[in-house]
Symmetry: C2
Subunit: 310 residues, 2 copies
């Protein structure tokens, strides 16, 4: 009975330049892994955490993965089953790549898989969002939904989780660079003005709509023209060293767009093929290397599966 199961939930890029709080896509890697096993203690118990440098709590209700797992169990009305979780963090905190979302998704998935899928993936979404809320404070699905469901996800409304998967043109590659500098999500939010000019709103709406239409029509040129953030990126760019140089380098190599991943400091670029994505990677890396800023950089297609049982 107690072999247990292992699940994987991937990192994600939220906002995607033109969809602050309402767009996100899943990466192939990195991501978090959780092993779930039955135990004799009813409820969720966290027995092991690796890769977190002691920074994650073992208390179920304070842990994103634990809380999401517990909410699934509660929803199922199961007060007798005991499940233990081993959480293996395989991605950095505060990177802007949806670390807490991946943990929450993995927690919800792990319980569901161990119990032989009483719920669909889509039905797990609210519990994973509740889990991430512990870390982030906000009830937002822009990282959680793509980590769970895969693909490029558009969220009409976060409160009601009115979530839609967008079509994916062939050949898109993301280049993602994570500089080892620290930005707190709270600081990244505090730097934003709570007012936007009407003209900026019109421009950004045009770009969001253009991006969506471009995805539906596989219109790579339109996607490229649309990936321009006139609201959030100009305010947050200063938090990330060399952001403008990195962006210029990516665009010069032929990227369709380049912007901040989530609240940063990671930066993503989307490219129309793997060759351009490689060139973008080299040019981005050179700038951080020359500036002696430690960083991780990788290329990923958009992950179509989302969270999976390994």
């Amino acid at each position: 009975m107690n072999a247990g199961i292992k699940v994987f939930a991937p990192a994600t890029v939220a906002n995607v330049a033109v969809g602050y709080d309402i767009l996100g896509f899943a990466l192939e890697k990195p991501g978090d892994e959780i092993i779930a096993k039955f135990t004799n203690t009813p409820g969720i118990t966290i027995t092991k955490i690796t890769g977190a440098k002691g920074k994650l709590p073992y208390e179920t209700e304070k842990n994103t993965a634990g809380f999401a797992a517990q909410k699934v169990l509660e929803f199922l009305g199961d007060t007798k089953t005991g499940i233990s979780l081993e959480i293996h963090k395989k991605m950095p905190f505060g990177s802007g790549l949806g670390s807490s979302a991946a943990s929450a998704v993995a927690g919800a998935m792990a319980v569901n898989e161990l119990l032989k899928k009483p719920l669909t993936k889509r039905e797990l979404l609210p519990f994973a969002v509740l889990g991430e809320q512990i870390a982030d404070g906000a009830y937002h699905a822009d990282n959680v939904a793509p980590s769970l469901l895969g693909g490029i996800i558009f969220i009409r409304d976060n409160q009601s989780l009115d979530v839609h998967r967008l079509p994916l043109p062939k050949g898109l590659y993301a280049t993602v660079v994570h500089p080892n500098v620290r930005i707190l999500t709270k600081d990244a939010r505090d730097v934003l003005s709570d007012q936007v000019s009407l003209n900026q709103t019109i421009t950004q709406s045009g770009n969001l709509g253009g991006f969506i239409v471009g995805l539906y029509n596989s219109d790579i040129g339109l996607i490229g023209r649309s990936l321009q953030d006139v609201i959030i990126e100009p305010q947050r760019a200063k938090l990330i060293p060399h952001f403008q140089d990195i962006k210029t380098a990516a665009m010069n190599e032929g990227a369709l767009g380049c912007s901040i991943s989530g609240a940063g400091p990671s930066i993503f670029a989307l490219s129309p093929n793997s060759l351009i994505a490689e060139n973008v990677k080299e040019s981005m890396a050179k700038i951080f290397t020359d500036a002696k800023i430690e960083h991780q950089i990788f290329i990923s297609q958009i992950n179509q599966e989302g969270a999976i049982k390994l």
Copy 2:
């Protein structure tokens, strides 16, 4: 040689609740008609205007239809041909139904049709936009593009006329009511704050994206949830007598959405079928009738053809 040709350009609903300056759709009627004939005087001459109560200028350069027509002729490098235009206005000014846009489109179409189509419809767009600019001051395609091309049009960017036709689910009907009250486009713009809260921007972007996704997926429920304007309508509603009552009546009958057409005072509702559109029409009409406000009201499918040669 001089039988001439006649063209028709339809009225349009711009903004469509969630796409201020960047969405519009075409109605089947009303619209403007223009008859074009060859004359011996080089350039564009306006020989007759009906339906305008003397309010439209005969000077080509000051007339939206005349100026659009002239710009087409200039683009073709034709300095010898003379064309006369008879302009038959068949829709009210200042109604929020794109009256000046329809005239400009008809002017550009008329010249192109008389010359046996040297340009495609899409190629006529910038000249028609220049024509409308005479009346409106702004270089905007949200009425002009749907009047010319038909359908529901999304504009990523007005300056570069990055214009895209969206798919149209079957069965959508518009109910449009035009109360005989006067709103100047300038007043309708002046009433708008030039600042929007970031939260409103996120909500409205979600609704714009949801509307577009709904059109692509023929998801009528999503279209209905998306047709909510949290930015423009709350500011402009007070300019239109009984707006809230009209809207409530339409929504109670099952409309998917109801908002201001363009700068108003016309109000449109979208319904998922003709039966609901009829009920919406009756309920809307009753409110203006009870309030003794003269009005015109009609039902139209979305016009798929746009401007045509009759």
